[in-house]
Amino acid sequence: MATAKWPAQDQRKLIGKRIDRLDGPAKATGAAKYSFDINRPGMLWAKLITSPHARAEAVSVDFTEAKSLPGVRATWENPNSIGKDQAGNGKIQYIGQIVAAIAADTEEIAKEAASRVKVQYAPMPHQANDRDPQLFQGQPGGRNVGNVEEALAKADVKIEGEYGIPVITHCCLESHGQVAELRNGQLNLWPSTQAVSSYADVSMTDASGGLQRSNIHVDCQHMGGGFGSKFNPGTWGVASTALSKQAGRPVKLMLERDEELMIGGNRPSAYAKIKVGAAKDGTITAIDAEVWGTAGPGGGIPQQIPYVIDKIPNIRLSVKRIATNRGPAAAWRAPNHPQQCFLTMSAFADTAAALKMDELEFFVKNAQLTARPDVYTEELKIAADLIGYRQKAHLRGDPRPGSVKRGLGMSMHTWGGRGHRSECDVTINPDGSVEAKTGSQDLGVGTRTVITIVVAETLGLPMESVKVEIGRNSYPASGGSGGSTTVGGVSTASRLASTDALNALIEVVAPKLGVQADALEASDGYIRQIDKPNNRIAWKNACALLGVNSITKRGLNDPGPAEQQGFISQGVGGVQMADVAVDIETGVVTINEMVGVQDCGLIIDLKTAESQVHGSMIMGVAYALYEEAVYDFKTGRMLNADMEFYRLAGLKDVGKLKVHMMTSKSYEDRGVIGLGEPPVISPGAAIANAVANACGVRVPHLPLTPDRVIAALQKGGIV
């Protein structure tokens, strides 16, 4: 009999190896069909009509001129945008808010028709400024531990700084949207989503005129990036479903690029004034922080300051969420952590600089104030070795002559990553074929590959023998891919299901081999006797013994028990270091090298796991150096809602990257832990600290653009 417990390292044939992602060939050849690529017979195109005002009442919508265009088939008005709310105010809260939608035979006609829809607005005063804490009214959140005033007064060294990280957007390359096809009482949806099983929510029932979930079919085989912003159908989903219902034809509605950047989701800003007190030996004794920022009209902003190094005896924190008439925030990969990390680690690196203390020594010392001192200390040492810290390090300010200064910086981060509730069915057929089905999704992280590895490993088969199907809500439910919860969820569920299925097969095979089921295992394409491997039966022949009946078993990852049983765990630590060059004449920052050291429990596919870390570091380079949703406070408009001026990192921008995964037994024994979020947290802080170390002054606000670097150099000072 097989046990479900994860196999030991020397027993594994697939788990933990470097394995190519299974959908790689489909993606590299353009054969993979994303939601944006779904073309249905008779399909209409829909375009949105959005508000040009940051705050207003949309008084009326007139489709007359738009409908006069040949080929216009359906129109939709958004009740959540038109008219007044209960308090008597207009419902428009930000530029880009969806007011109406229109569907036509071709994309060109739909676009032109949308431009001919006349909406009458009554503009109202708006507020788009997130930089001034005075704009906050009300009672700040926060906490108070110990006595900050007294501790700061007694500290051997004190620093005071202001830091900031702006709103950035998700900028998914596949914009938000879906194809909706409502006919004969069945609603078929092809959405770009990171939550297939829960996508058909009440908004789809309402928009379809009351269809039950059993008649709403969701299919998402490939999706072009979500990063936390693609869980629910959204207003665009409601619009396309309603338009399909009205027209009786399929409707494709994908956001335009400017809409994607303005309303497709963003990461809240976080600005802070921070005071830190420390003892001569480097131990941090007090932190006093005022944090403010915006998540748009609603939502929360980062507030766990200090971050990771948080066992500080004296903490005072005041958090002010500034409501703005700007596009709403959405979960952005490791929600709140990158901001908290940047604010905290920047202030702490400045403390080390004020102490004239080596930064590595300072962080190793203060790793004692974290939840996992041993892990962070070990990771700091590994990262230092990988980047050549000893050879390259200097105190703040590169002392060498010349206009290009070089510096090192570092940061630490943490994340949960416990696998979500997830079900998986594994079927063994009499012809020997194996299927696994789960309503999960692959955001590009390798979900298909991970499930295939686990099932093949469990059944002792090559990966080609296992067919994995995901991405449909008719399959056993699996949680949304948020918070690094997918790999733990699907790997445990598929492990449990395939173990149960195998044991059912072994029961059938045991009499044939003349032994008890307990004596058998699956390995190398055989069911065989554990202590007498030559007493065996080939997989196909074993399955033939099933007669006409397949075996199907369902596995459930129930997070609590699964964690207790060691299948999954949570809470990882990571350290990153950056080596940068700063041209102090031009202000241009170049990444020479970055190192990421990451703990994530038992790794299923080392190749795609490393890619997650590489990708996170590259996203980090982008938000450290380039990304900012620039808003004009006067109009409330995002000024760079395109990809020319909302800059992502290119191939030449990322420098040399080194990734080290913590894979020793003590880490693996914890079970599987998610990896999507943690490595994206530290890059902003590590790069900003490296820039400060290079050029001798703190550049206080991300992104570290040339103008900001030059301004900081002109201002001077340590902080």
């Binding site: 590299a28 353009g30 071709t106 955001l443 997650q612 395109d642 191939l651």
Partner: protein, 207 residues
């Protein structure tokens, strides 16, 4: 635009060629637009605004379709011919996700009109390989895991293929510069240059 683009001028960076086009005319003029005028332009009369017949030579096959003159090559490929490998992302010549090869040069298909592409040899990602029979570049992208969500990947693969045809023996640095006209959001750059250089070595030209 009176000159023909030399290989060294395009060297995989279709944005540069695109900007060149911009400097002498409008966006609609596009890359290479005077190298071989379209049939429509040759006929010297105003086309549209309704649909007009266009024949496009795509992956060695003639495709007859009827499009309005304002339809981009990208939209014609995706919406009319169901060739959805080229992706629509920025829709204004920045990200490279829509890259196709036109007369041997990488082109942002969002920035060329379908009517302008008439009479030219167009190669899309679908013309480079299939999952069962991948090109050297495609194999190298899979092997080096130079893709995650994969939405930018066809654009990168096409751009890499065109780059290698013009630069058969690139260094890693050449590859990084040559693919500067494409963007990825997941951050799949870590081993992309290695993939391109390896593909070059395995085939002496990549595709």
């Amino acid at each position: 635009m009176s000159e023909k683009l030399e290989p060294s001028q395009v060297s995989g960076v279709s944005r540069r060629g695109f900007l060149k086009g911009l400097s002498v005319g409008s966006v609609a003029t596009g890359l290479l637009s005077d190298a071989a005028p379209s049939e429509a332009a040759e006929r010297g009369r105003i086309q549209g605004p309704g649909e007009i017949p266009v024949t496009l030579r795509i992956n060695g096959k003639n495709e007859k379709l009827s499009v309005e003159p304002r339809v981009t090559l990208l939209d014609a490929l995706r919406n009319r011919l169901d060739l959805t490998g080229a992706k629509k992302v920025c829709d204004r010549g920045t990200c490279g996700s829509c890259t196709v090869i036109v007369d041997g040069h990488p082109v942002y298909s969002c920035s060329m009109l379908a009517v302008e592409a008439e009479g030219r040899a167009i190669t899309t990602i679908e013309g480079l390989g299939t999952p069962a029979k991948m090109s050297a570049v495609q194999k190298a992208f899979v092997k080096h895991d130079a893709q995650q969500c994969g939405f930018c990947t066809p654009g990168f693969v096409v751009a890499s293929t065109a780059f290698l045809r013009l630069n058969p023996n690139p260094t890693l640095e050449d590859a990084r510069a040559g693919l500067g006209g494409n963007l990825c959001r997941c951050g799949t750059y870590a081993h992309m240059a290695e993939a391109v250089v390896e593909a070059a070595k395995s085939t002496k030209g990549g595709a």
